[in-house]
């Protein structure tokens, strides 16, 4: 497209078929090419942290399930790990394994969900239906283990609320065996398809250096060749005992380009990896209880006595999920901060989308697997209008607050 053409603005969002959650993009377009862009999150702020600060940790655990509809276990796990560190609660060994199994099942269903969404963004509805259909098996298994398809409510401070019993093992094994065939089929349908290849190869490029500079996390970072995975870097739950390696796109394609195609590769290979992790967990599960303390009154009392601060890090399907908790001998935590993986990843949009075509906007936006409602932590509303706060504004507000607290 020539430079002589005038450029024009296209808004995408807050509500648009390409976006599964509200966020506002403004694209400066020249012909079909994106010249410049900006985005404004903050359209789905729900005040979860505010709610949390009015509840006790046992209640917050299930509030965490609802931060994200897809990675419910990851947020709860991160929060519980933070609280367990503060209150010095020792989680039973078996609970660690159950947590790992549920977290990996969640990864399988999340990545399959993403694969379906990505196919839909490309206009390939058959793969969308196929991916979501096979995702049902993982959802059914989660329902069997936890009791519900989403919002599992299984992880609690001090362990897990439900054990995986011997009689459930055959069902788990059956599902895993079915997934063995399905993943082979999915790998073929997604990665060998010419129409997907021409759309995704060399689209939305991000180099390893850019990925590092932008502090990206999870599959987005790994697709650019950045070796980072909380499960390996700072093992939690049972991951320290298990044998697995980081998934990088060159394991399939032989090279790392950091494009959308590589992100598909990483996510699909992680489904295969999760299956092996679940198998290992089931083989090595130690006997014993799954809860540090069966009596809720004692858990509540322990949490009330706790003092200190800690953070919990978990590798959610979308990347690192980070919870900071500070407790001060009271019913509810004094501070609770949630950083979802999309918060770290969203800035990479600016790099990826520049000089790409309009047609590729949906798939590139989707390629980091954004989850806006997990990310949005603040909405500035005053006198009925919303606004944007700059760094200077935030600094001024902090100073004012400190002065107010100090009473001067």
């Amino acid at each position: 497209m020539s430079d002589s053409k005038p450029s024009y603005n296209i808004p995408i969002g807050p509500i648009h078929p390409a976006l599964k959650e509200p966020i506002l993009f403004t694209f400066k377009i020249n012909g079909e090419v994106v010249e410049d862009l900006d985005f404004a999150p903050g359209k789905v702020h729900r005040g979860i942290e505010w709610m949390g600060m009015r509840r006790n940790p046992v209640q917050i655990a299930h509030l965490c399930d609802r931060i994200c509809g897809i990675c419910g276990v990851s947020h709860t796990l991160a929060f519980c790990r933070a609280v367990e560190q503060i209150a010095e609660i020792e989680v039973p060994e078996r609970a660690h394994y159950v947590r790992t199994i549920v977290a990996e099942l969640e990864r399988i269903q999340s990545h399959l969900l993403w694969a379906g969404v990505a196919a839909h963004e490309l206009g390939f509805d058959t793969l969308f239906h196929l991916a979501w259909r096979v995702r049902e098996d993982a959802m059914d298994l989660l329902e069997l283990i936890t009791g519900n398809r989403v919002n599992y409510g299984i992880v609690q401070v001090g362990g897990v609320r439900r054990d995986i019993t011997e009689d459930q093992f055959p069902k788990v094994e059956k599902t895993l065996a079915a997934y063995e065939d399905i993943t082979k089929k999915l790998l073929k349908l997604f990665l060998e398809d010419t129409s997907i290849k021409v759309r995704c190869r060399d689209t939305g490029l991000m180099t390893r250096k850019q990925a590092l500079e932008l502090c990206t996390v999870g599959p987005t970072a790994r697709a650019s060749g950045l070796e980072m995975d909380v499960r390996l870097d700072a093992p939690y739950a049972a991951y320290g005992d298990l044998d697995f390696t980081m998934v990088l796109p060159d394991q399939y394609a032989g090279e790392i380009r950091g494009d959308v195609y590589d992100r598909i590769v990483v996510r699909l290979l992680e489904v295969v990896q999760s299956m092996s992790i679940i198998r290992q967990c089931i083989d090595n599960m130690p006997p014993g209880v799954v809860m540090w303390e069966q009596k809720y009154a004692k858990i509540l009392a322990t949490c009330k006595k706790a003092e200190g601060e800690a953070f919990g890090r978990v590798e959610a399907p979308r990347g690192e999920c980070f919870h900071f908790v500070r407790m001060n001998k009271s019913e509810s935590p004094e501070a609770w901060k949630v950083k979802a993986s999309t918060y770290s990843n969203q800035m990479s949009w600016l790099t990826m989308l520049k000089n790409e075509q309009i047609a590729d906007i949906p798939i590139i936006v989707a390629s980091i697997d954004p989850c806006m409602s997990c990310t949005d932590r603040v909405a500035v509303i005053g006198n009925g209008t919303s606004g944007i706060l700059t760094k200077q504004d935030l600094h001024r507000l902090s100073v004012e607050k400190t002065r107010r607290i100090q009473g001067c």
Partner: protein, 336 residues
């Protein structure tokens, strides 16, 4: 004179009703086919009728920044042009109403009119999405015209070489099987051209992988984004009628056989039998060139679309043409 005018009016209304009803039925069938291939139950076959009924109940919104006259005229022109195409196309062994006044080249021109009307309507709606959609529709149109023209010209030319009078007339093409005229090389060429036409159909009808101008996930409906109510219903009807037209064109060019050619029948029985067989052929064409293609691949980017049609299908089409020319020059098949 009066009776002729009356007959023409009745014929036109009849054709319009036939096109709309059969077109919506074809869309219903296509949705059912696609659903089954995607392991879904799919909507009932009557769903397109329900959709049109719903749209007609809705408000017809004209956006503030739109050019009202063009915006409202475009859907009418699109539907009128689509119905006009059907006036030049046969139904089974019933020959076209206006067959004497136009030939297959006219049909090629008429096929572009609904698309042009959509482009005009898109530009007139004043939305950036619609503008991008309209630009893409124009590019798409330029891309698929060339392979389509090759396919049509090659067949008519082969008929003319065989010494058949008026080879460009629809009635001539519909009553002669080009397969029986061509020799072995010709058959190969015809197969290639059939492939080309099967791929031009989704582009002509703006279906996946060529729905780039509408691209739900990118442009939220593209050039139709601002349309609602009656106007959108008219565009949907135009698309339905165009489905009939494109499928009929493929049947006329490549699958012209009628049962009455082979089995002796009373004239009325022959018309009914031919019409039923024609419907089966049209449904088959829709299955292979609309339903299967749209479920088996992703949407193409506009530059890929141009490459596909100009380069790959252009080459396939030219190869088909060359084979047919060779066939005629080497004296295979029927040559006058």
């Amino acid at each position: 004179m009066l009776t002729a005018v009356m007959a023409a009016v009745v014929g036109c209304i009849g054709i319009a009703v036939y096109g709309i009803v059969f077109g919506l039925f074809l869309q219903g069938i296509d949705r059912k086919f696609a659903a089954r291939m995607q392991a879904r139950v799919g909507p009932p076959i009557r769903q397109p009728f329900i959709d049109i009924g719903k749209l007609l109940c809705k408000d017809n919104v004209v956006p503030e920044g739109a050019l009202g006259v063009v915006f409202n005229a475009a859907p009418l022109i699109a539907l009128a042009a689509s119905v006009t195409i059907l006036l030049y196309l046969p139904v089974g062994s019933i020959m076209p109403l206006l067959g004497e006044w136009g030939d297959i080249v006219l049909i090629m021109y008429l096929l572009t009119v609904p698309a042009l009307a959509m482009v005009a309507g898109g530009f007139a709606s004043g939305s950036p999405y619609a503008t991008v959609g309209s630009q893409r529709e124009m590019v798409t149109m330029i891309a698929y015209e060339f392979p389509l023209a090759i396919a049509i010209i090659a067949i008519a030319w082969r008929l003319s070489v065989a010494g058949i009078a008026d080879p460009f007339l629809i009635s001539t093409i519909a009553q002669t099987s080009v397969w029986s005229i061509a020799g072995p090389f010709g058959w190969l060429g015809l197969l290639l051209l059939l492939l080309v036409l099967a791929w031009v159909t989704p582009a002509e009808l703006s279906r996946v992988p060529c729905d780039t101008p509408e691209a739900e996930t990118e442009l939220a409906g593209g050039l139709l984004v601002e349309y609602s109510g009656r106007n959108l219903a008219l565009f949907s009807l135009s698309a339905a009628v165009k489905t009939v037209a494109m499928a009929t064109l493929a049947v006329v060019l490549f699958l012209p056989w009628n049962p009455s050619w082979y089995i002796a029948m009373a004239p009325t029985t022959a018309i009914v039998a031919d019409a039923l067989f024609f419907i089966i052929k049209v449904v088959l064409v829709v299955f292979f060139s609309v339903s299967v293609i749209r479920v088996m691949m992703a949407r193409l980017r506009i530059n890929h679309l141009v490459t596909l049609y100009w380069k790959y299908l252009g080459i396939v089409g030219l190869a088909g043409l060359v084979l047919i020319v060779l066939d005629a020059m080497l004296g295979m098949g029927v040559v006058a």
